[in-house]
């Protein structure tokens, strides 16, 4: 199974599979000869259609994902993701390409955290402060990346908003303008700013819940 229908994604999230693996991204680890057997023209067309338009989103998400790890390189991570996506493209069913790609991206990042910090597997506390600025101990590499992934998921949900909704979130939440300043700047009533903000944040929250990253406070 590659990308599950939406209702099944929620189902997975509800059973606590978390935000990492419930798309079951097919990351091809096969040898090059596997690549040669497929229809290269079709693979290229699919890669052009599904993957290349998402490069800037992938880079911005990779920036968020690697924000807290000093030696991580977002560009490198996206290259790695592009390679994995290219190898796996003929097994992708064409639904939710962004979600598919971001799952590959997250899995690639998890592998990196494991590879670069094998000590994480033995003692999550020892490197906690270098990997994430959280204080609760005893968590796995996956959980650390999921936490970093929260910002990434917000980022990608933000980028997915319509222009009108993204504009008010940009001005209020990112640039810190007041409702009145925002209203003046874009020439709409304050009430419109408020309702757009409300809708935008609901959408972001819904996305997080669908990705199994709802209010985590509930479980702690």
């Amino acid at each position: 199974m590659i990308a599950k229908p939406r209702h099944q994604q929620r189902h997975s999230a509800a059973f606590g599979l978390g935000g990492v693996a419930h798309y079951a991204a097919p990351v091809a680890e096969s040898a090059p000869e596997g690549v040669e057997q497929r229809d290269e023209a079709v693979a290229k067309a699919r890669f052009d259609e599904y993957v290349l338009p998402e490069v800037d989103v992938m880079y911005r998400v990779a920036m968020s994902l690697t924000r807290n790890s000093a030696d991580a390189d977002a560009e490198d991570l996206v290259q790695d993701t592009l390679l994995r996506a290219f190898r796996a493209i003929d097994r992708f069913d064409g639904r939710y390409p962004r979600a598919w790609l971001l799952t590959i991206l997250r899995n690639a990042q998890i592998n990196r955290v494991r590879r670069k910090r094998p000590e994480l597997l033995r003692d999550p506390d020892a490197t906690m402060d270098r990997v994430a600025d959280t204080s609760d101990g005893g968590r796995t590499a996956e959980e650390l990346v999921v936490d970093m992934g929260f910002d990434a998921e917000v980022e990608s949900a933000f980028l997915d908003l319509s222009d009108k909704l993204r504009e008010v979130v940009q001005l209020v939440d990112i640039e810190g303008l007041s409702y009145q300043e925002t209203a003046d700047k874009i020439g709409v009533p304050v009430g419109t700013v408020m309702s757009r903000l409300h809708r935008a944040r609901k959408k972001i929250k819904k996305r997080l819940q669908a990705a199994g990253m709802g209010p985590r406070e509930a479980s702690t």
Partner: protein, 90 residues
Amino acid sequence: MRLKRQWWRPKTAEVNCHEVGRVLQVYLDGELADQDAGLVAAHLDDCRLCGLESGAYERVKAALAQPMPEGADPEAIERLRLFGQGLAGD
């Protein structure tokens, strides 16, 4: 902005979940009048569900407010696009 009380509730009563839900984001944005913000804060301290809802929005706001990390390179996107096109053999 002011809190709108439900018409049948006495003005002196504590605010309820419905009333808080309507102004929660305004409260978190710091745009609610001081005297109303106090009422909302008191409710959030006592009510688990509203507290969770508020926490979720606070986390989203905090994540959005983080600046793009240093080292974000606009040219990197172009390089990555070229890399991707190279993979696809264009």
